[in-house]
C-alpha cells in the first residue's frame, strides 16, 4: 500500500538526457518554462510540443511511466479546462440550458491545459533522468553564487540529500509499524475521522521515536567522520560539462532565438 509511493522518481538509464550535466538540465528547463510562458502562441507551442515529444522519446523512460506523472494533477488539469471552457465569453459553440460553451473557451481551455501538461512533463523529465544526488549537487552548484549574500547553499543541499535519502527508509518503517499494529488489531480503514486519527497514534509514536534515533545516530556518524560543513569539501563524482552539454545549450538557445523572431514577426 504505502510502498507504491515513489518520491525522487529517478528512472535509471543511460540516455542522452541521463548523460546531460544536471546543472545544464536545470537551467535549460528554466529556459523552456520561461518560453512556455512568454511565447503563448499556437505556432510556438507546436515547436515546444514537438521538442517535448522528442525529449520524451530519447529519455529512455517508458511512455507509460512518463504519463503517470500527470496523474496526481489530472484533476487540476480537468478543472482548469472546465473553468476556462465555461468562463470565457465569445461565440457560442454549444448551448445547454445555462451552460454556454464558446469557441474561445474551448481554445483557451485546451491551451492552458497544454501549458500545464508541458510544464509537468518537462519537469518530470528532469527528475526521471537525474538521480536525486546529482540533482542536489546541481542545486548546490547553482545556488553557491548566492552564498555571498548569506545563503547556506551547501547546508541546504545536504539537508535535501539527507531528506531524500531517508524518505524510502521512513516509508518502509511506516509500512512495517502499520503492519505490526494491524496485526495487533488496529483498523485504519473504517470508522469516523476521529477514530481514524486516534488509530494513527500507535504508528506516529514509534515512527517519531525511530526517526529521532536515526537522526541522532546519523549526526554522530557524520561527526565521527569529521564532517565540518561545506568549506573546502570536494566531491567524489564532480560534475563536468561535456560537448553534449554545449550542443544542447546551443540548440536550445537557437530555438529560443527562433521563437523570439517568430513572435516579433507576428
Amino acid at each position: 500500500m504505502l510502498s507504491d509511493i515513489t518520491i525522487g522518481q529517478y528512472y535509471p538509464g543511460n540516455s542522452l538526457l541521463h548523460r546531460l550535466d544536471p546543472r545544464v538540465k536545470i537551467l535549460l528547463l528554466l529556459l523552456l518554462m520561461a518560453e512556455i510562458f512568454i511565447f503563448a502562441s499556437w505556432t510556438a507551442y507546436g515547436f515546444i510540443i514537438a521538442l517535448t515529444c522528442a525529449l520524451m522519446c530519447c529519455s529512455g523512460v517508458p511512455l507509460k511511466v512518463l504519463l503517470r506523472s500527470l496523474r496526481p494533477l489530472l484533476w487540476i488539469i480537468v478543472l482548469t479546462f472546465i473553468i476556462h471552457l465555461l468562463g470565457t465569453p465569445g461565440e457560442t459553440a454549444y448551448q445547454l440550458g445555462v451552460i454556454n460553451i464558446t469557441w474561445e473557451g474551448l481554445s483557451r481551455g485546451t491551451f492552458i491545459c497544454l501549458r500545464l501538461m508541458l510544464l509537468i512533463l518537462l519537469s518530470s523529465l528532469l527528475t526521471f533522468t537525474t538521480s536525486p544526488v546529482k540533482l542536489t549537487d546541481a542545486m548546490e552548484a547553482l545556488l553557491s553564487p548566492f552564498r555571498r549574500f548569506g545563503l547556506p547553499a551547501h547546508e541546504l543541499a545536504m539537508m535535501m540529500t539527507i531528506a531524500l535519502r531517508f524518505v524510502p527508509t521512513l516509508i518502509e518503517e511506516t509500512d512495517r509499524i502499520m503492519k505490526a499494529q494491524q496485526s495487533r488489531g488496529v483498523d485504519f480503514t473504517t470508522g469516523s475521522i476521529f477514530t481514524r486519527l486516534k488509530a494513527m497514534v500507535p504508528i506516529l509514536v514509534p515512527l517519531f521515536l525511530s526517526a529521532f534515533r536515526r537522526a541522532d545516530e546519523l549526526a554522530l556518524a557524520m561527526e565521527a567522520r569529521c564532517y565540518r560543513g561545506g568549506v573546502g569539501r570536494t566531491q567524489m563524482k564532480a560534475l563536468a560539462v561535456t560537448r553534449l552539454d554545449y550542443i544542447a545549450v546551443f540548440l536550445m538557445i537557437a530555438m529560443a532565438a527562433g521563437l523570439s523572431v517568430l513572435a516579433w514577426l507576428d
Binding site: A180, Q182, S183, R184, V186
Partner: protein, 292 residues
C-alpha cells in the same frame, strides 16, 4: 486443523521499475501444535512468506487457507470469517520492541486485547497472564514506561503484547536478533514452553524465522528452507541438515553441532545416529568412547 498455503506467489510493486517477485509458488501445510522453523539467506522471502500466512499481504496468485477459511474472500460473510481466522494468528515482527508506544508496559500489552473489544476484567487478566508468561513482573514493570526497559525486556514486553491476544498460531520473525546470549536463551526457552503447552494450556503452534541453525536443530519439529522466493526443502531438521547440497545452494551452513559431530565420527570418537542438542551429543560421544 491447519494453515495451508497453496501455490502462493507474491510480487512487490508490480508494474514499476522496482518490481520484484519475492515468492514463487510456495506450497506448505502448518499443522496445529507443532514447531516450525523457516531458514533462508537474507532476501530469500522469509518475512514476505510469514506476512502471507497471517494475511497482512494478499498473494498475487495462489491462496492461504486458515483452518478451512480462505483469507482472500470477496463476500461480506467471507470477509468476516477471514477476519476471525486471522485473529487466531499472532505475529511478532523482527525487532518488535520498535512498535511499543504506550505510556506504560501494561497499557501497551493491553492494546491488542482492547482492539479485540474484550471487557476490562478480561483485558486485565490477559495482561497479567501475558506478562507472567514472558517473565516480567507485573508489579515491578507493569507501571513503567516501555522505554525505561532494557533491550531484552522491551522485546519480552512486545511479545507479551502479542501473547495477550491469545493466538493459536504464533509467528516470530527472528525473535532473538540483536540479543545477548542470555536474552536469546530466555526467549527461546519461552517459545519452547509455549509450544509444549501443559499445565492446562493447549500447545501453541510456533512458526519461527531464524538464522541460527543450531536453534532450529534443537527446537523445531519441521523446517522449511527458502531460496530466492522458492521453497527448496522441507522436513525434519535432522534430515534437512543432511542435505548439504541444498543447504549450500540456499546459502546456509549446517549447525555447528552437526559439523563437530561429523569430525568426531570421522575420528571414531562418537557413535552414528541422530543428534539434536548438546545432551544427545554428549551421550553419542560417551557411547562412541565406550566402544573403544
Amino acid at each position: 486443523m491447519s494453515i495451508e498455503l497453496k501455490n502462493v506467489s507474491y510480487t512487490y510493486m508490480p508494474d514499476t521499475p522496482m518490481e520484484r517477485q519475492a515468492l514463487m509458488g510456495v506450497t506448505m501445510t502448518l499443522e496445529r501444535g507443532r514447531f516450525y522453523a523457516i531458514a533462508g539467506h537474507t532476501g530469500s522471502g522469509k518475512s514476505t512468506l510469514i506476512q502471507q500466512i497471517c494475511g497482512l499481504l494478499t498473494p498475487t496468485s495462489g491462496e492461504v487457507v486458515v483452518e478451512g477459511v480462505p483469507l482472500k474472500a470477496k463476500s461480506k460473510e467471507g470477509k468476516k470469517q477471514a477476519a476471525l481466522a486471522k485473529r487466531k494468528i499472532g505475529l511478532v515482527f523482527q525487532y518488535p520492541e520498535q512498535q511499543l508506544f504506550e505510556e506504560t508496559v501494561a497499557a501497551d500489552v493491553a492494546f491488542g486485547p482492547r482492539n479485540q473489544g474484550l471487557t476490562e476484567e478480561e483485558i486485565a487478566r490477559r495482561v497479567q497472564k501475558a506478562l507472567a508468561l514472558v517473565d516480567l513482573d507485573y508489579e515491578a514493570y507493569g507501571g513503567k514506561s516501555p522505554f525505561q526497559l532494557s533491550g531484552g525486556q522491551k522485546r519480552r514486553a512486545a511479545i507479551a503484547g502479542v501473547l495477550a491476544m491469545e493466538p493459536e498460531y504464533l509467528i516470530l520473525d527472528e525473535p532473538t536478533a540483536g540479543l545477548d546470549p542470555k536474552g536469546r536463551e530466555a526467549i527461546l526457552e519461552l517459545i519452547n514452553t509455549l509450544q509444549k503447552g501443559g499445565k492446562g494450556k493447549e500447545p501453541m503452534t510456533i512458526i519461527m524465522v531464524s538464522h541460527a541453525m543450531d536453534d532450529i536443530l534443537r527446537l523445531a519439529d519441521e523446517m522449511f528452507v527458502m531460496q530466492e522466493g522458492r521453497l527448496t526443502a522441507s522436513g525434519a531438521p535432522a534430515e534437512v541438515f543432511e542435505r548439504w547440497d541444498v543447504l549450500s545452494e540456499a546459502g546456509l551452513e549446517p549447525p555447528k553441532l552437526l559439523l563437530l559431530m561429523e569430525r568426531l565420527r570421522e575420528a571414531g570418537l562418537a557413535e552414528r545416529g541422530p543428534v539434536r542438542n548438546l545432551k544427545e551429543a554428549v551421550q553419542a560421544v560417551k557411547r562412541g568412547l565406550g566402544k573403544c
